[in-house]
């Protein structure tokens, strides 16, 4: 038999600690609020780069030619009638400058190239404005390259947008790969079209139309936002109810309640973390909370399953003893599972950027909280609910052998 760790001694401390954390979180929600993402707070977010156009392409043939710039090379996909169907791959490793690349491109019949900066290196990748079609036609397709000499900072962008009320500007990345993010709310009567045109005109006027290229753009209207908030709340509550129902059928009601309390605890701890760190709260963050709900219930159920198993096995009339034995027996499982999941999530955290990066961070917090709550919070609740516990298995089978000291 493994050594039994007396987890029950820490129950009171754990409950106090969690309460303090959660209350501080509620306090922070009230005072600092939650940094709601676009999903919940309508408006527009646009991310763009300011880099010169190095090459312009036009085409007036009858085929469809698509330009596909990737991180390692540029592909020309030629299809349709009027030309031989093929994919021309031009890796940057073989075409180190824009001039070399342009020469190869002009080898394709019908494409007219206009080189604006032949010396620009291709190694850092070429890119196009995401809001234009990459099918070549009479209108020139501008191809941009990262340029160190572009000296723009967030203040310049703010100055460019000074006529637009409530524009919030952030710099993402640094050096030549820097991009800028603008966030705008929607004023009364504004539409996606008007808000986008206004912003893009201001940017083009300040930095030149040929320099601005949009990386991504998000717009969410107010009506859509409202229905999303309502749906999300229903979603979380209904998930909790379903999990509680299933656990009640499989276990006893107080076990089920302990499991649900543990997951509510985890959700609140995550909300506390989110408001402390002022991380953006988007649908992805919501997905993280829901994941932890699923994950933490997993951990709690494994422990409860062991408690139920031990109730018929352990000879003790104190429920905390059974609880301590069960928790000790499942401890290595709890630690190993949390660790392996953490490996996977930390890998996500390290290698990604943007929303998934935040998602992974929220998961890390939730995983640790989930492992902790399945032992201490769920344990504390059951210990409290069963403090008047009488071991039925024990009293019927062993009652004859019990030596009674008292009268």
């Amino acid at each position: 038999m493994k050594k039994v760790i007396h987890f029950s001694k820490c129950f009171v401390g754990a409950v106090v600690l969690s309460s303090v954390l959660i209350i501080s979180g509620i306090f922070s929600v009230v005072t600092r609020g939650i940094n709601f993402g676009l999903d919940f707070k309508p408006g527009m977010i646009e991310e763009f780069r300011i880099d010169p156009t190095v090459l312009e392409l036009t085409y007036n043939g009858s085929a469809t030619i698509k330009v596909d710039p990737a991180s390692t090379g540029l592909d020309l996909v030629i299809s349709g009638v009027g030309a031989e169907n093929r994919t021309v791959s031009l890796p940057y490793a073989e075409n180190k400058t824009v001039a070399e690349l342009a020469e190869k491109i002009s080898g394709v019949e019908g494409i007219v190239t206009k080189v604006l900066d032949g010396n620009a290196a291709t190694a850092d990748g070429l890119f196009v404005n995401s809001a234009v079609s990459t099918t070549l036609g009479a209108n020139p397709l501008r191809i941009h390259a990262a340029d160190e000499s572009v000296n723009v900072n967030a203040d310049d962008v703010r100055a460019a947008l000074k006529d637009i009320e409530g524009a919030d500007v952030k710099t993402l990345g640094s050096g030549k790969n820097a991009s800028y993010q603008i966030r705008l709310g929607i004023a009364e009567g504004e539409t996606q079209k008007s808000i986008q045109e206004k912003t893009n005109h201001a940017l083009s006027a300040a930095f030149g139309e040929d320099k601005v290229s949009i990386v991504k753009s998000d717009f969410i209207g107010s009506q859509f936002s409202k229905s999303l908030i309502r749906d999300s709340i229903i979603l979380v509550l209904a998930t909790l109810v379903l999990i509680w129902l299933y656990s009640t059928i499989r276990f006893h009601w107080d076990f089920a309640l302990a499991a649900v309390i543990a997951i509510i605890h985890d959700s609140l701890i995550m909300v506390t973390f989110i408001t402390w760190s002022q991380m953006e709260f988007s649908t992805t963050t919501l997905a993280a909370i829901l994941t932890i709900i699923g994950y933490s219930i997993n951990a709690t159920v494994v422990i409860l399953d062991r408690v139920r198993y031990n109730m018929a096995l352990v000879e003790s009339d104190k429920f905390v003893d059974i609880l301590n034995i069960s928790l000790s027996e499942t401890l290595s499982r709890s630690i190993i599972t949390t660790m392996t999941t953490l490996f996977a999530v930390v890998s996500l955290f390290v290698f990604t950027t943007g929303t998934i990066h935040d998602f992974a961070l929220a998961l890390i917090v939730g995983l640790i909280s989930g492992a902790y709550s399945s032992i201490f919070i769920a344990g504390a609740f059951i210990a409290c609910a069963r403090r008047n516990f009488v071991n039925k298995g024990l009293t019927t089978s062993k009652s004859n052998n019990v030596v009674q000291f008292e009268a």
Partner: protein
């Protein structure tokens, strides 16, 4: 169950998975990009392509035959030789040996027959590729780049506008449904016209339309496309110019239009005309182009004057006809719709008038006489055609105000970056987890690794089987599943260790370990599954992708942990004859 049955079951599952995965593999790995672009194009483009290619081939073959009639066609024409042989056999004629060019040509009674065979071959190969795409895992916008738009249709406003002009609508619910269907159809047809690759357009809820355009698309033109009012008008057909154009098109099919659909050489028709496709509905209710007409750029009558349109039947012949009413009210303008039409038809009796909607000619008819009074009847088609035309005409007044509620544009290079990040995270996470299992559980860890790798394989296969979309959040779901599915293995291994400590043999420990762990694994996974399924039904966007891959992962990880890993243990005990257990550094 004995080991052989279990082994066969596992093999069967893996084989079925491979069958599901195959379309995805052949689409993403084995189909070149230019073929992908062709396959993703609209059916109209595919048809154009095969027709042009086929006529090029026919000319090439004829040229070979003229130069040297006894040459044998090269291997790329094998299908044609086969078709020729089949024709000979069907006619009970002797099949020439060897099959020379002239023998091949002789098998077809006319050039049209030959053309059809070649065209079918081109079309089928593209449609096959399209089919592969339909059956494969799709990349979400965050991975492929592109644009998604949610449009809100203001049905109340459309209803109110109707109630003002006409008598009260009897059934508002039916009206809304019809208006919504029309709005979607109009958008579909406009976006199709745009030639974008495989756009998705579907109704979301009662009054929203979801549009997804993968790859790069011009934001501004898509916006105009959505927000733009339906453009319906009547224009005069120029018969001479039409004939001239058709003559030119027959010889220059491949080089008539540029990629945007404009004429490369505009001088082939008079400057006051333009060439527009003439469309009809095919058997699937999709627009099919049946030819081109040259029409005057000048608009004879704007669609805004149409008040209502109905399908009726002619009093005398009882044949179906479409009648529409033009406004007789001048509304402050110089002439009313009825007057404009009367003047125009009076001046052009005997000529043809085309109904142009969103740059497609939907129908054209001869003007028999001057039409005064604003009551117009068009006849000469089937009931179905009449109904289609009535729907076209009703777009003129049944306008549903559309508003963009959400729009997302993601650059293709950003998608490229996301794929690389996601794959890297997936691989590193997987390796870290597997290395840990191997170090901590030694020999048993190897079983966990096999189970884990199969788990990933099954997950991708199920994603492929249901044609689900792979997004960054579903990759996140997979990575999390990797971590969580190891849990089932951990529960089992820890149990086996306990049994070993209590002195049981290898076989007994394995049996007891799996039996005791069974309900813990089932209970914990069923609860997670409940949460995941629930989320996948109610959630949207990133939540949905995440939940679906989590749900799939839960199912496949239970299978691999309880069936695959168990079989491996039993195999090692019974067949290899292992007596001791390599599961921990402490237990030997």
């Amino acid at each position: 169950m004995n080991k052989r049955t279990r082994f066969v079951i596992i093999l069967a599952v893996l084989a079925v998975c491979f069958w599901f995965l195959w379309p995805s593999i052949s689409w993403y790995v084995r189909t070149p990009k230019d073929e992908q672009t062709l396959a993703l194009g609209s059916l109209e483009k595919i048809k154009d392509y095969s027709t042009v290619k086929a006529s090029e081939d026919v000319n090439a073959i004829k040229k070979i035959a003229n130069e040297k009639s006894d040459t044998v066609l090269d291997a790329s024409y094998d299908y044609l030789v086969k078709a020729a042989k089949k024709n000979y056999k069907a006619d009970n004629k002797k099949v020439a040996e060897p099959m020379t060019v002239s023998a091949v040509l002789g098998a077809f009674s006319n050039e049209k027959e030959l053309l059809d065979v070649i065209e079918a071959k081109y079309r089928e190969s593209i449609l096959k590729a399209k089919n592969r795409y339909t059956n494969s895992v799709k990349l979400g916008l965050d991975l492929s780049g592109g644009m998604n738009i949610i449009v809100h249709a203001d049905l109340e406003a459309a209803l109110a506008a109707q109630s003002d002009s006409n008598a009260a609508i009897a059934d508002p619910a039916a009206f809304k449904k019809e208006a919504m269907a029309q709005a979607i159809e109009t958008l579909t047809s406009r976006i199709d016209k745009f030639g974008l690759s495989s756009p998705v357009i579907r109704q979301q809820g009662e009054d929203r339309i979801y549009i997804e355009i993968p790859g790069a698309a011009d934001g501004e033109s898509v916006n105009t496309l959505i927000m733009g009012k339906g453009i319906l008008n009547f224009r005069l057909v120029d018969n001479d110019a039409t004939d001239k154009f058709n003559q030119y098109y027959q010889t220059h099919a491949a080089s008539t239009f540029n990629a945007d659909g404009n004429l490369i050489d505009p001088s082939i028709i008079p400057a006051d005309c333009e060439v527009i496709g003439l469309y009809t509905k095919d058997d699937y209710g999709l627009d099919e182009r049946i030819g081109y007409l040259a029409v005057k750029k000048e608009i004879a009558l704007d669609g805004k004057y149409i008040k209502s349109a109905q399908v009726t039947s002619d009093n005398i012949t009882n044949r179906p006809q479409v009648t529409f009413v033009l406004s007789a009210d001048r509304n402050g303008e110089e002439l009313s719709g009825a007057e404009i039409f009367a003047n125009f038809t009076g001046a052009h009796v005997g000529e043809n008038l085309a109904i142009v909607s969103d740059n497609k000619i939907k129908s054209y008819a001869r003007i028999n006489e001057k039409i005064g009074g604003g009551q117009v009847a068009i006849s000469g088609f089937s009931v179905e055609e009449a109904q289609n035309l009535q729907k076209v005409l009703q777009t003129a007044w049944l306008a549903v105000p559309l508003e963009v509620e959400s729009q997302q544009v993601i650059g293709a290079s950003l998608g490229d970056q996301a794929i690389r990040q996601g794959v890297k995270a997936l691989i590193v996470g997987l390796i870290a987890v597997l290395a840990f299992m191997l170090i901590y559980y030694l020999g048993a860890g190897f079983n966990a690794i096999v189970a884990q790798v199969l788990n990933m394989y099954i997950m991708f296969a199920i994603l492929s089987a249901f044609n689900l979309t792979l997004t960054l959040s579903s990759i996140a779901g997979m990575i999390l599943t990797v971590g969580m599915s190891v849990d089932a293995n951990v529960i089992i291994f820890e149990r086996i260790k306990e049994e070993l400590r209590s002195g049981k043999s290898r076989a007994a420990s394995i049996a007891a370990g799996f039996d005791n762990a069974f309900w813990a694994i089932m209970d914990s996974n069923i609860t997670t599954f409940i949460a995941a399924i629930f989320l996948s039904q109610l959630g949207t966007g990133s939540i949905q992708g995440f939940a679906v891959s989590l749900a799939i992962g839960v199912v496949s990880s239970v299978f691999t942990a309880l069936v695959v890993s168990r079989l491996m243990f039993d195999f090692q005990t019974d067949v290899i004859g292992k007596k001791n257990m390599s599961i921990s550094w402490r237990i030997k």
